[in-house]
């Protein structure tokens, strides 16, 4: 395949940045998208140019590191996959592919296609945990009865890998699908009840302080989420938040 890549290049966080065109040829349709970028970077290094920086780690759709906005969609045009699971056969020979970093004020660009997603870490630190006695008297998790539907929904929410595609796709750069999933995975389980009130209040407060936008229920986040996290989690977070606000 012969392609033209339009890639966002930005030297550092303070650089203005710009889109740069890179023609690339002899790309196998069976390559992953990141392998294709590896090929490009090898060519750039051979030419003595700066390679394109992009986040990646596990390359099997689990870690949530890869974060590219490809042809106007988070993780590209395919559904329920991360960028590392995207293959070049998705594109046509001769196509121009636009590659950009996640765009959100709360996710500032560090370099090229790499953004700072520590805002998510700070939201998690604010309440995305439970207190468990690990001093030797730990209760077997299976000893606590949990409704099957709740267990399934909590597990589904917990599959969020925190990649940030929800924020990137949302026209308002809202983080509510991420926070909704993190609130839901504990709110649905008995183990999460102890800190339930503080958790949702603190996580939402941190989310707002980070500068994410307000959800307007477009549903783009749900469509683009590589793990299929449902909008139900946002509705649950809204309910949890209102309950907690009334208590507090």
């Amino acid at each position: 395949m012969n392609l033209t890549l339009k890639i966002w290049r930005q030297k550092n966080a303070s650089d203005k940045g710009k889109m740069v065109d890179y023609p690339i040829s002899n790309i196998s349709p069976d390559m992953s998208f990141l392998e294709m970028l590896d090929v490009l970077n090898n060519e750039l290094i051979e030419k003595g140019e700066e390679p394109v920086s992009f986040d990646h780690d596990c390359r099997e759709g689990i870690c949530g590191s890869c974060s590219l906005y490809i042809n106007g969609e988070a993780h590209g045009p395919d559904r329920l996959i991360t960028t590392c699971q995207l293959h070049m056969r998705t594109f046509k020979d001769g196509e121009t592919i636009t590659i950009e970093p996640w765009r959100a004020t709360a996710f500032p660009v560090i370099k090229d296609l790499v953004v700072d997603r520590t805002a998510f870490d700070r939201i998690q630190h604010a309440g995305g945990f439970i207190s468990v006695n690990t001093s030797g008297n730990t209760i077997d998790a299976n000893a606590i009865p949990v409704n099957k539907q709740d267990a399934d929904d909590a597990f589904s929410a917990a599959t969020c890998i925190g990649c940030g595609a929800c924020v990137a796709s949302c026209k308002n750069s809202s983080a509510m699908l991420f926070v909704g999933a993190k609130v839901s995975q504990f709110a649905l389980l008995p183990q999460g009840q102890v800190e339930a009130t503080d958790r949702v209040l603190n996580m939402v407060k941190q989310m707002d302080e980070e500068g994410f936008g307000n959800c307007t229920n477009t549903g783009a986040c749900e469509v683009e989420c590589p793990k299929g996290i449902s909008l139900e989690n946002i509705a649950r977070m809204n309910t949890e938040f209102l309950k907690a606000s009334l208590k507090g």
Partner: protein, 224 residues
């Protein structure tokens, strides 16, 4: 409880509540207006009741005005905040791949509805307030002794430009409701086994009610 409106979810909840209130009002408005087609006498009676009953005039009307102003102001405030959340736009963004046009353009459909509402207030509400509270005529009748409401309504829809304007206004209302109806329920935390049915009902409401208003305007224009 304090500061709930300072949170993103609190603002969203308040926006949804004002939307649900306005949707109930629109349905009630439609129910009375359709009487103008079915029975002019019934329309006159209903209009006179709504225009003179103290609870409607001094309780519901102020709440409605506050609700309308709140919904518009909050809508614009949220839009400004949301724009700040993405200071740099994408060079290429395929919004149509993951969301409806209506959901992405609520501010535009809302803006057009605001323009329509200003015209509607100038057409009907301001003259009504003038007659009742400035001139002091609470009789609701013409010099002939007949009720004036149906006559005034029909008279407004004799002009093609006004009918066309109202039709465009209601199309924007339909576009706004096609996303807004369901969105309001999601915002108040209602996403459950009833959501699918609610989505179906929201389409019926969002298309049916504005289409009904268009029918009323066109009906009176054609009957001139």
């Amino acid at each position: 409880m304090s500061g709930i409106l300072n949170s993103s979810i609190g603002r969203k909840f308040a926006m949804a509540l004002s939307a649900l209130f306005l949707m109930i009002f629109i349905l009630q408005h439609f129910a009375i207006n359709i009487l103008s087609v079915i029975s002019p006498d019934a329309f006159n009676e209903a209009s006179h009741f709504m225009g003179t009953f103290w609870a409607v005039q001094y309780l519901l009307q102020p709440v409605l005005i506050i609700g309308v102003i709140f919904h518009f102001v909050m809508g614009f405030v949220l839009e400004i905040k949301n724009n700040k959340a993405r200071a740099i736009s994408y060079a290429k963004n395929n919004g149509a791949a993951n969301s409806s046009w209506m959901s992405r353009n609520m501010i535009w459909s809302g803006g057009f509805i605001l323009v329509f509402l200003v015209i509607h207030f100038i057409d009907f509400w301001i003259p009504e307030i003038n007659t009742k509270y400035i001139v002091g005529d609470m009789s609701g009748t013409l010099p002939s002794g007949e009720f004036r409401y149906h006559e005034e309504l029909v008279h407004k829809f004799k002009d093609l430009w006004r009918v066309a304007l109202y039709c465009v206004g209601f199309v924007f209302l339909a576009l706004h409701l096609l996303h807004g109806f369901n969105s309001a329920f999601q915002s108040v935390g209602a996403n459950n086994k009833y959501t699918k049915g609610l989505k179906g009902f929201s389409k019926v409401y969002a298309i049916g009610v504005p289409a009904g208003f268009i029918f009323i305007a066109v009906f009176h224009f054609l009957n001139h």
